[in-house]
Symmetry: none
Subunit: 225 residues, 2 copies
DNA sequence: CTTGACACAGAACAGGCGTTCGAGTATCAT
DNA sequence: ATGATACTCGAACGCCTGTTCTGTGTCAAG
C-alpha cells in the first residue's frame, strides 16, 4: 500500500523556507544562512533546515554550494535571471536595398547579437526565435523609429492591419520596415513618414512577410543634431 | 599642500579586484571571499584586500555587508549575469512632477525595475546610477518617444548641446523630453519633430535638468493604427 | 508488537571568513 | 633629516556557518 503522509510534493515547511529565502534575498541582497532560516521558520535545529534544504535541492527548487556560507539560490525563473540572446542578422534600410539573410536564420553565423532581459519581453514572445535588425535611414522616423535603432522581430508570415512588419519584396530585391495593410487588390505598405508614399503591392507580386516588430531599442550615446 | 600621488580615481589594483568580483560572480553565482580575491589578485594579506574593498565601497563601486561572508556586491549589477537592474522611479508626463530626485538611491523602494543587458549599454554608462521612467501620454511624441516607452536616464544637472534631456520647468509645472541647446540668452529645448516649435527658456526662468537620456526601449505588443 | 522510514532536536566539531593589530617599506613634502 | 601618507604583510582572534552524530517521537506496514 502506498501511503502518503503529507509528502504532497512540497510540504508547508518547504514552502515557508522557499518564501523566506526569496524575501530575505530581496531584502539583504544575499541569501540567508541555515540558522537564519531556522529562526524565521521556527526550526530549532540547523540540521533540520539542512534536511529540508537537501530536499529542496533534489526537487530542483534551489541550488546549493555546500561548504560555502549562504551558498544557496533559487533556481526559479524569478524576476532575476535570464536573458535572451537575439542575433542581429544585419542592417535594414527602411528605404532602399537590403543585405538581410531572409531565408534560414538558423545558421547562427550572426556577426553580432543583443541580449534582452526576458523580463522586458512581452510574455507571449518569450522563447521565440526572435531576431534583430539595425535600422539604417530615416524613413521610419515618424513611426518613432530612428536611424541606428535596433528592432527586435518575431518571425511571421502573416500580419494584421496596422502591425509593423519587415517585408521582403523579392522582385525588387528589397526589404523594408513598414506598417502593413491588406487591401482589396493587394497590400499597402505604409511608411509612417507622411512625406513618403506608400508602396502598393498587387496580389500577383511577391510579398513575403519576414517578421513583426515586437520591440525597439535605441541607444542614445551620440549626438542628434 | 594637497598632493595626489597616483590616486587617479581607481588604481590598477582597484580595477583588477572589481573585474575579479564580476567574473567570479558570473561563474559561481555568488561573490568571492576576501581570501579568494587576494589569491587571484596577487595580494598576500587579507587585510590589504579589506583595505581596497573599503576604498571601493567609499567610491561607491561596491556595497558591503560587513561581518557576512562574501557580503559584497557590485552596485547596479544584478546578482546574476550581465544585467543591470535599473529602478523605474515612476512615470513621466507633461504637467506632473516626476519623482526623480535620486538622492537616497539606496532606498530601493522602487516599485518596479527593468533589467538591461550591460552589453547594450554604452560603455561609459556602466556602473552608473541610472534610473528609468515610463512615458505616459503622447507629450513626448515629438522626440520620437511614444506612450509606454521606457527611457533610461543618467542623472545629470547639466547637458551639452544636442543631448536629449529630461527637463523640469517648475513655473509651467511641466516635464518634457527635449534636445538641449544652450544659447546666448537662455536655452532652447528642441523637439525632434521639425514641424514643432522649440521651447525657448530665458536664463531668468527656472529650468532644471533631471537627466540625460541614454536609452529608449519600446515594447511593441500592441497595435499602432 | 516490532520494524523502519520519516520528521525533528540538540550538541559538538572543524573550517571559513571578516576583523584587528602591530610592524615594515616607499615616496614625497617640509 | 623628519614626518606624513599610502601601501603592504603576517598573524592572531573570534564569530559565523555548514556538517555530522546521537537521540527522540510518530506512524504505518508487516
Amino acid at each position: 500500500m502506498m501511503m502518503v503522509r503529507k509528502s504532497k510534493g512540497l510540504g508547508e515547511r518547504h514552502q515557508k523556507i522557499l518564501e523566506f529565502i526569496e524575501s530575505y534575498q530581496r531584502e539583504h541582497k544575499h541569501p540567508p544562512s541555515i540558522r537564519e532560516i531556522g529562526e524565521h521558520c521556527d526550526i530549532s535545529s540547523t540540521s533540520v533546515v539542512n534536511y529540508y534544504l537537501d530536499q529542496l535541492e533534489k526537487a530542483g527548487h534551489i541550488e546549493r554550494d555546500r561548504k560555502i556560507s549562504r551558498g544557496m539560490r533559487l533556481t526559479n525563473a524569478s524576476p532575476f535571471g535570464d536573458m535572451m540572446r537575439v542575433p542581429v542578422l544585419g542592417v535594414i534600410q527602411a528605404g532602399e536595398p537590403i543585405p538581410i539573410p531572409p531565408s534560414d536564420f538558423n545558421s547562427f553565423t550572426a556577426d553580432d547579437s543583443v541580449e534582452i532581459a526576458t523580463s522586458l519581453m512581452p510574455a507571449r514572445e518569450k522563447g521565440r526565435d526572435l531576431f534583430a535588425l539595425q535600422v539604417q535611414g530615416d524613413s521610419m522616423i515618424d513611426a518613432m523609429i530612428n536611424d541606428g535603432d535596433i528592432v527586435i522581430l518575431k518571425p511571421a508570415q502573416e500580419a494584421r492591419n496596422g502591425e509593423m512588419v519587415a517585408v521582403w519584396l523579392s522582385d525588387k530585391n528589397e526589404t523594408t520596415l513598414k506598417y502593413f495593410y491588406k487591401e482589396k487588390d493587394g497590400y499597402r505598405l505604409q511608411p509612417a513618414n507622411p512625406t513618403m508614399k506608400p508602396i502598393l503591392v498587387k496580389k500577383s507580386e511577391p510579398l513575403e512577410i519576414k517578421g513583426k516588430v515586437v520591440m525597439v531599442i535605441r541607444k542614445v550615446d551620440r549626438y542628434m543634431a
